[in-house]
Amino acid sequence: MSGKLKLKAAFISLMMLAIFLGAWHLATQPKESAVQAATDSEYAAMMGKGKEQSGFPAPAKVGHAFVEYLADPFYDKGPNDKGIGIQIAHSLGRVAVGFLLAVAVALPVGFMIGMSPLLFQAFNPFIQVLKPISPLAWMPLALYSLKDSDISGIFVIFICSIWPMLINTAFGVASVRRDWINVARTLEVNPLRKAFLVILPAAAPTILTGMRISMGIAWLVIVAAEMLVGGTGIGYFVWNEWNNLALPNVIFAVVMIGIVGMILDLFFGWLQKLVTYRE
């Protein structure tokens, strides 16, 4: 039954895609007006109105970009011409480092403030002030103090992915069922065992939710950060192609960003499922 539903949904999705692509195709058809035909084609080309030129790239052209880039994703022809695979790998590398650093800080600190209402109160004003700051607003400070665009990018990922994880970890730890804690207490379980065998598994679904949100934000931010700092990465690729006015490539990159983001989210969704328990 649900298989049938999935099939139907997939069919409708494909139909929507087809309609969208068709509309796009029709909208970007070169229009040959009578006036244009009459005038000198060279002049028209000069004015940017010729038959060759089209404002927005047609889907076929974008498709061509897809084929071209996906056929050879890992070539490297100098700083401004690298395959999409290499660019994405750079971005993912930065995200991974920044994200893991954030995990390394957010989990222990979140654990600590989740266990202690006093620390929670003490940390809360800082968290509330720092949380809403746009990650990119940190960029000038990071660039000035770290003096390295690569590290600054990582720092921005770190600073933006830390808050959801910190808050969710603290919340998850603080709201572990009283009964489970009491069981551990009556069994005289030592603090380390209690932390890893009772509190961590109990809070894991909440913590993973925080991680999933963080990862989503990190992937959003890396594109913007790379546009600013340049050099490598999918964000830089978008910016570079925009400077080249190669819109088909930009569209291609935008779609790739979406797909990679989706894969990351699916991965964390899968992790979340692994640690979720049924009561």
């Binding site: 069922r177 009964d179 009491n182 009556t186 069994l187 005289e188 598994p201 049924r278 009561e279």
Partner: protein, 310 residues
Amino acid sequence: MSTHFLSVENLKKVFPPTNGVANLPVFEDIHFHIDKGEFVCIIGHSGCGKTTILNVLAGLDEASAGEAFMDGREVRGPSLDRGVVFQSHALMPWMSVLGNVAFAVKSKWPDWSQEKINEHCTRYLEMVGLGHAIHKKPAELSGGMKQRVGIARAFAIQPKMLLLDEPFGALDALTRGTIQDELLKIVQATHQTVFMITHDVDEAILLADKILLMSNGPHAKIAEIVEVTMPRSRTRSGIHHDPQYYMIRNHLVDFLVNRSKTYAGAEAEMFHDAKNPPVVRPGLDGELAPVLTLTAEKPAAQALKHVVNQ
């Protein structure tokens, strides 16, 4: 007082003031003792502080005054010497049934090998009739089975004393019956010392050697100690053929419905010594049980409506 295995002296609990208004003590002047191998039930209306008393004995809560001694030592903080079965079973849902029991066993005997732990746990799980379900997750079990795991977990650490907080409260009558039978069998075999909260008069008579009756809170006290004088080899199916059964049952119901609220105030103190609450044997003495005659006439029909057959 160290002659008894467990003795509770002068226990009192006052919750901290709410919005600056001081709270009345939930209970005070609680004195009782339990001997080794005894099964003691405590019965009383909601709000008389039964669970707080149990939590104090478990070391999970602190009394405002008074102390409890077990085996000659003061009860201070939780201990592996006292196993607790929680009302809500409190199993860790991410561990299997075996894992839950093994967690407890490993806490008690950290240097046991994995096989020894598993073998030990399996034995206790078989004892509660769950040998077939040891690898299941708690979520796959029925309420009764979960509570059995909780019982197996508490027994598996072989505590000196077992504390049960209304363990069958959330179960349907049929399941409750079977588990009561199992508990009865295990306790008869192991001579475990047990302190149990219950709301169920029949359950108390079936299981207990001694039933503590608590008066209503605030200022709740131990009103009476009822000795269940029927032979220890009771069964759920045979117990109601014993003539003592109804005498005890009537006495308990009568207390809960009519007398439980008459122990507060100065007038009751003239008749009632909380330090040495009267021990009664309604099964043998029948109607000779002491009754607070002065105030017993007060509760009228309206009071009867409140509590019918707790």
